[in-house]
């Protein structure tokens, strides 16, 4: 066999393997979405997304859970976005690259791998008990915020890394201060990437159950949280209850699938927002 044909065959086989891998991943995703869509689609109605559960959660909707998830995500963002971006700016632009900063960076990477239940327990101790926020929207939001922080820091730092050094040098050579350089000639180009990573982190937080389990999420509440120190219902926790803890599991199964569908659509929506945001911001710069 000629070498060139052998190389050609090898290449064809390689491509095929890569295509198959991607096809497999896609197939799982499609199957998964199809299954949830089929079983949960029937439960979706205006009433389902706009009303509270009734009759021991066997009827009615999931509005309080949607509202709770929204609220807690806002608090998560309020903590994780500014702090994460600021930490990334410090780490990448200001901190000297030393053993200490390498250690800090390594710790941050490791923190993003810590199981979410550990964050949950940490949140109970720090926010619920020590800081006396009680089991509340605030405690849960802050716990999720802590969990998201390593992601936002890492994503933001990666975004800063993509900005060529020549932008910084060029600005400084014109007499810009370090902060002016960062604010006017680094951040504007890094923010799209920073936001994308951040929103992805938030989407992940919105779907988490473990960190809010002990810090503020309620099994069932007859009212919406009126302040940040109230407990709240949340989609992932509600789904967990409906799927495993409910007294009439068979009866509420369609509602559980409906909840799952709403949660997925929400998270997907957040991810899409990130993509669109990045696209818009990038285009504006051209």
């Amino acid at each position: 066999m000629k070498i060139s044909t052998r190389k050609g065959i090898l290449q064809a086989v390689g491509f095929l393997a890569l295509r198959a891998a991607m096809g497999l991943v896609l197939a799982v995703l499609v199957l998964f979405l199809y299954d949830i869509g089929r079983k949960g689609g029937g439960a979706i109605s205006w009433e389902f997304v706009s009303q509270a559960p009734r009759k021991g959660m066997t009827e009615g909707g999931i509005f309080p859970a949607i509202f709770g998830t929204f609220l807690v995500t806002v608090i998560t963002a309020a903590l994780a976005v500014p702090l994460g971006m600021a930490a990334a700016i410090y780490l990448h632009e200001y901190a000297r690259q030393s053993r200490l900063t390498r250690l800090i960076r390594l710790s941050i990477r490791n923190l993003s791998g810590v199981p979410s239940i550990v964050y949950g327990l940490f949140g109970v101790i720090l926010f619920v008990n020590v800081m006396r926020f009680g089991t509340s929207v605030l405690s849960a939001g802050l716990t999720l915020g802590l969990m998201t922080l390593p992601w936002t820091i890492t994503a933001s730092e990666e975004a800063l890394k993509t900005i060529p050094n020549s932008y910084r040098e060029g600005a400084m050579a014109l007499g810009a201060t370090k902060w002016q350089t960062i604010r006017t000639n680094v951040l504007p180009y890094a923010v799209p990437g920073m936001l994308t990573g951040t929103v992805l982190g938030l989407a992940r937080a919105a779907g988490e159950t473990a960190p809010i389990l002990f810090t503020g999420a309620a099994f069932y509440l007859p009212f919406l949280p009126k302040s940040l120190s109230d407990q709240f219902m949340a989609l992932p926790y509600h789904l967990y209850i409906m799927a495993t803890q409910h007294h009439a599991i068979q009866q509420v199964r369609p509602l559980a699938y409906g909840t799952a569908l709403v949660l997925i659509v929400l998270v997907l929506g957040l991810n899409m927002t990130a993509v669109i945001l990045r696209y818009r911001l990038r285009r504006k710069q051209r």
Binding site: P164, G170, A171, A173, L174, G175, T177, Q285
Partner: protein, 256 residues
């Protein structure tokens, strides 16, 4: 020639520069005359880029670096406690090896330096943008497309844009760090013409790996090797009657 034109604008006194433990410059003393072009030549790694970056303290930003000796701008030590490095860099502008326009419009690239230096008056900014682009011989090519992104320009135009950007903040000295190494010969010729004209108003220091370029554009030439200044003098003399054997070997192409 009036005496003012002969004054030394920027001068180094025995500077050595270290990247961590490595010494990149050894005891270099050069005086650059006002409104003259001083060229730095030498083989790769001889320290000429390091040298030029000490002149506007861009070398400060390298972690773990250290400078010994003094650098005087108009007779004042640029490392003195009361010298604002930001103001120093406004007075001593720099054009880099690779054109580095910002991803903004042509207009905003030039206006950038004015804005960060606090100029808010729109008309004044406009006037200076035009003046700078004319100064860099780019105005006629871009006057109808000022809002286009700077990346739409050719490489040579981008480099002239960077020169215009440096001119806009009205510096006194302009440092060129191998400004033509990334552009084609025709664009190079344009930039050389430009440098020739710039020296009417500015003190120019240029690093180049191209000896012919040094011979064409400069009034004085410094030849460096392995971090040391081997010879410094009027360009005519350096290229016709070098005093040092090393200089002669280099300019006659025996190594490099």
């Amino acid at each position: 020639m009036s005496p003012a034109e002969n004054a030394i604008k920027i001068k180094t006194e025995g500077i050595s520069f270290y990247y961590g433990p490595n010494r990149a410059l050894r005891n270099v003393s050069i005086g650059c005359l006002e409104r003259k072009v001083t060229a730095l030549i030498g083989p790769s790694g001889c320290g000429k880029s390091t040298f030029i970056r000490t002149l506007n303290r861009m070398s400060d930003v390298v972690p773990g670096s250290r400078l010994e000796g003094r650098i005087l701008l108009d007779g004042r030590d640029i490392h003195a406690a009361d010298v604002d490095v930001v103001e120093l860099r406004r007075r001593v502008g720099m054009v880099f090896q690779k054109p580095n326009p910002f991803p903004k419009s042509i207009y905003d690239n030039i206006a950038y330096g004015l804005r960060i230096n606090g100029m808010r008056n729109k008309r004044a900014v406009e006037a200076l943008v035009e003046k700078s682009l004319r100064g860099a011989a780019l105005w006629d090519e871009v006057k109808d497309r000022l809002d286009d992104n700077a990346f739409t320009l050719s490489g040579g135009q981008q480099q002239r844009l960077c020169i215009a950007r440096a001119l806009a903040v009205e510096p006194e000295v302009i440092l060129f760090d191998e400004p033509c190494s990334a552009i084609d010969p025709i664009a190079t010729a344009k930039i050389e013409d430009l440098i020739e004209r710039l020296k009417k108003d500015y003190t120019v220091v240029i690093v180049t790996h191209n000896m012919q370029q040094a011979a064409r554009v400069s009034d004085f030439t410094a030849f460096m090797m392995l971090g040391e200044l081997i010879e410094f003098g009027p360009t005519d003399r350096i290229f016709t009657a070098p005093a040092q054997k090393l200089t002669e070997d280099y300019i006659t192409g025996r190594f490099g």
